[in-house]
Symmetry: C4
Subunit: 215 residues, 4 copies
């Protein structure tokens, strides 16, 4: 499957994004956070485009050919490859925050189980953990870090609308869980997005351990 780039986009720019996505995917797959070809990853390429993983590929063995170009409405650009159904959740981030350049969506066991446990309440509130400081903007363990848990659906526009509603209500958002499904988080660069993902996985694990041991 050949990827044709727009005339205004250099091959080396696209390739650098594709390589960064594939690197991140391999490392997250090695942690077991992308079971059975699940999960997807993207990076902004310019004001109008992003690079994203092609649907259904094994995330532990991605190369440049497994990454495709889309516009910020989720349409394939210069390729017949099919973007993931969940592409709309990536482009939503790029459209709402011009400074965000990387979106990571994984499916770890911890993320899946936490989403089920807290689905009825609708949010997970983290407080008292030093590692909350790994989330940009947080400077103390005393702050409250709130992660919403949205109901799962196979109809993407409903998910997009839930995220929009949260943001339109003026609430801070650094990541969200989808019930029975996984996590979405992002960053101003891929290092920040990965730091957020790593810290959130750790915090969710700690919170569930504490729940298990306190009962």
């Amino acid at each position: 499957m050949t990827q044709q780039l727009p005339a205004t986009m250099s091959q080396s720019l696209f390739d650098s994004r594709a390589d960064a996505i594939a690197d991140a995917a391999r490392q997250l797959a090695a942690l077991g956070w992308t079971p059975a070809t699940s999960s997807n990853f993207s990076m902004r390429v310019d004001d109008e485009h992003a690079a994203i993983t092609i649907s259904g590929r094994d995330k532990g063995h991605l190369g440049r050919d497994d990454i495709m170009l889309i516009d910020l409405h989720g349409h394939a650009v210069g390729t017949t490859a099919r973007p993931s159904a969940e592409t709309a959740l990536h482009t939503q981030v790029y459209r709402r925050w011009p400074e965000m350049t990387a979106v990571l969506h994984t499916h770890s066991r911890t993320q899946s189980v936490a989403s089920r446990l807290y689905a009825a309440r609708g949010t997970i509130q983290l407080q008292g953990w030093e590692l909350q400081k790994a989330i940009s903007g947080y400077t103390s363990h005393d702050s409250v870090l709130e992660i919403p848990v949205f109901p799962n659906t196979q109809h993407m526009p409903d998910l997009v609308a839930q995220v929009d509603a949260w943001l339109d209500a003026g609430k801070p958002l650094h990541a969200y869980l989808i019930d029975g499904h996984g996590i979405y988080t992002w960053g101003r660069d891929i290092a920040e997005a990965r730091r957020h993902l790593e810290a959130l996985e750790f915090l969710l694990e700690c919170e569930m351990d504490l729940r298990r041991l306190s009962s």
Copy 2:
């Protein structure tokens, strides 16, 4: 131990199946799913034969010499090697579904414990997990994925009869657990069989975590 092939079977065909089995076995052993020489793996070679692991070998270090040929009634073909006692459960799959070409049987701690927990009920019903979509034919987390748990026995014909009875009752079957023992699953190719196995391990882990944390 020398493996003689039937005149109608090419060496390269058998070797390709043996290599695919050994590769899968090494990777599953590295995950800790084949403790203490347990587990067995097979692939269909043609309409009348399958290749299967020889009993008692360390699944982390298989080579072509650890794979033998059997007919679809479980008899050794062209070798004095002894197939596993559980061979009958592999050939049953190949006889009932002409399109199935790979059967994987592992013994992970998760599979063993889940089988004990749900043995009295006789089935595990999975619902609400996005990863159910990794099982061929499932397109929504809302579907119910039912995995039967059959009582263990050292008498193989009884196990074969339990599986036949389930299928003869017209119930769907993508995998089954044996109480205190492990899981069997299969696929139209070995990639599908591995995706099923990986997804089921993940789903069983999640289900047990949820049970532990919800109580």
Copy 3:
């Protein structure tokens, strides 16, 4: 520290035992079963001698120089190195069973916790697990595999006496736990000893998972 061998023992015989011990130790250390320089391993060399790990070495990085010769009463032979205080538990196995040639003692978290949990009862009884068949002499999941848990003491003769008392009462013994401490198991060759150790770790994990989830 130089190891002088008795005139009747070939260097190559000692070296082969030392290498087998170091290999096993490295692999068990990689699993996290030998935390903080704990654990010890030995192999019979001949009717009167065994090779054993020198006390206090990091089990993940053993070489031939970390293995010493002892007689079957636990005295150093041909070296000024100090054998572990627990050497008496190794030589007891070699004296009581002429056919046993390898003894493994590890300290995994599972072994340590299981020993505390079952110390008051004095034994762990395993039943219903297919993997019991990995213990030599067991042919069915229906059998009962009983592992005694002895109280811990820093006075080795008391531990030796407890094991002797169990055996003198005519009870079968394939392994034992020491409370808060770890496991001892053995085999007719090191492959059997390792299979026993791997199967027992798995069975203890499963039994504790089942206890946690059934409550």
Copy 4:
């Protein structure tokens, strides 16, 4: 960022400390004990100086350039790099115990959760574990090993004062936890500090497993 050394300090001395710190950090990061750029590590260089990790670096990929020199009051020496806010907890150890040469601070999930669980009680008392003998000065599982849990604060002088108060009360101290945060431990050389850290992680895991299973 260039590190200028005092005239009295050889480059090779500083480099050997920096390499030992980077080695330890890489190995502890590989265990998952330093999530999301957290944790810090130091070694004494001479009577007046220590080498310490520069704040915010990924602990899995440290080189000599990620280590800086400080005096024993926590001020940067010969560099414009910023030492971690928690540097004061390292220099406190070097000032109070002239024989201590290495301090390790990590953030594992086990350490974080244990600190939350025992924060209200203020200490964790370990007893009955053979591995307590891995802590220098302990010769029996019967001894009590007490690890204080101090409240977390973003104001370092308060933490330093809590540690001083514990020590000034004449209580033994081999390590301490900070609530929701992690562990500090140390040793006369880096091997001792790592043995302490490894043993404490193991003991905290065992203690929490026992609590979970005994309830």
